[in-house]
Subunit: 309 residues, 2 copies
């Protein structure tokens, strides 16, 4: 069982492509795929001021490592990392520590912000306020919406032109499937590889790991010796996404290439170039871009009696 | 637990809409939904010569019953039923018998054709030729492609302007999901509710049961006292569609409305009006419309050494 590139002993096998790689060639193949994704879809350009959203988890460690390697060749590009502390004790500490270590190793400036700083409350405080008021939303709903909002606020503050996130092939396939199962055709169309059309006040996001399966990211992280979380988020709960993750892994096992096929279908839909007309306004509370009068973040905070920041 | 329409005792409950119906109002609600699907998407028009593809199974019994009720009001419409005998002994006999009974009851002319008549061989003969040649395709592949072809040949022969099939909401949701999982964005776009654009030589197909869940069709058939198959097709085997049927039923149980949401997403995609450019040629053997030089039906028949008809 030899590496398809250099003939040394293979340590990796892809059931989808049938390729085997040694550790060195595997790492190179991942880096090459990330680079080609960036080039092909013009995710990043020479004058970009890049903000990389990181959590300290394996996806963001792999993302930041590969990006800083790529960007070393483009000295005019500026790259900053952003970690958002949602304030879950025990859980987030390890991630933040790892963010600091990694940024120091790679020589990347790290900005840390928090829900407390931006919204006045930590996630546990928000969850407990919601429980008191009988608002039946999950912690993950607050966390997702406020994290997204936090990233956009800081991106503007720091003058970033692109936000880069560590979403991988599995995330994208799950999201596509979720959009279909929820009947959300417009989100399916907007899930394409290119940076989302710029709205005033919204910094475009790009996902260079979009074609890398989670399995490959985990193996890359393992080969690089990146430490893993040992603590699971205490708020983790069964969601449609979790169900779909399980289902997709199951189908992928029997039909290798399914996740990739899903993401390629999304690409083809997005390549149709259908202009999805979205009317963007400014939230009447916080001024952030939204399709409604009050943005989802302010609405959530309002529903639990927290005044919009 | 009372009927939402007339207040008598309910026998039916929809977890998706929350509605309860008595038997009479349930039957009416299904017929109304079929009628409104036909009207909304102009599936059938007053001058159509309709060919209804039936198998004798519950979907086609329900379809033909409702259609003949609707079309009774439009005397200028002509309606013929078509049954395709693939020649599986034991299995098909019951279906054909039921087709004859039902057509007689409803006063609909029935045309019966067969694989033997059109292609020279029954399905079991084709499967055994394929096995001898080591062609690794499933019986369902031959059956699906040849059945589709048989229907189009007979539709043209009979001068039909529309072919009507009994595909239900579950079938459509499974197909949508299957197209996504196979990366087939174009098929996903062509799965919309309207009659597929006419190609020369291809009679457009419409699916008036597209928004009726299989569960409701089964209940309608039960209330009407339609007999069910007791024999399963001997060729039934695990396929991706079967996996998806199981998965979708499972998700629907936990998230009622998912199947409907999927089909609505397909509708929205198809409403974008993207022209899917398909170059249609005539098969060099049989002259039927195809996107290739040799159509899939002739290719299959050729691969097992059967000369194209």
């Amino acid at each position: 069982m030899l590496c398809v590139r250099c003939g040394s002993k293979a340590v990796y096998y892809s059931p989808h492509s049938g390729h085997r790689f040694c550790a060195k060639c595997f790492i190179r193949s991942i880096e090459r795929r990330v680079r080609s994704t960036i080039n092909r879809y013009k995710l990043l350009e020479p004058n970009d001021r890049i903000l990389v959203a990181i959590s300290g988890g394996k996806d963001s460690q792999v993302l930041l490592t590969i990006l800083s390697k790529i960007e070393r060749r483009f000295p005019q590009v500026t790259m900053t990392a952003l970690a958002v502390d949602e304030g879950v004790p025990g859980y987030r500490d390890f991630g933040l520590k790892r963010c600091r270590e990694l940024c120091e190793e790679l020589g990347v400036e790290l900005v840390v912000t928090s829900f407390k700083e931006l919204f006045g409350y930590t996630l546990p405080e928000i969850v407990s306020l919601a429980e008191k008021r009988g608002v039946g939303l999950k912690a993950c709903t607050y966390c997702g919406i406020l994290r997204r909002r936090a990233i956009n606020i800081k991106a503007k503050e720091l003058g970033a032109t692109k936000v880069v996130t560590g979403h991988n092939l599995d995330d994208e396939a799950q999201t596509a499937l979720m959009n279909l199962l929820r009947g959300d055709a417009l989100r399916l169309l907007r899930l394409g590889p290119k940076p989302i059309e710029e709205y005033p006040g919204f910094i475009p996001r790009v996902k260079p790991l979009r074609y890398i399966p989670e399995r490959d990211i985990t193996f890359y992280a393992y080969l690089k010796g990146f430490p893993f979380y040992e603590v699971e988020c205490p708020y983790v709960r069964a969601s449609l996404r979790d169900e779909l993750r399980f289902i997709l892994n199951d189908i992928e096992g029997r039909h290798p290439g399914t996740k990739y096929a899903i993401v390629r279908a999304v690409d083809k839909l997005s390549a149709l170039g259908v202009k999805v007309k979205v009317k963007v306004k400014s939230c009447k509370y916080c001024g952030e871009p939204t399709t409604r009068d009050v943005c989802r973040a302010c609405e959530l905070l309002e529903s639990i009696g927290v005044v919009a920041h």
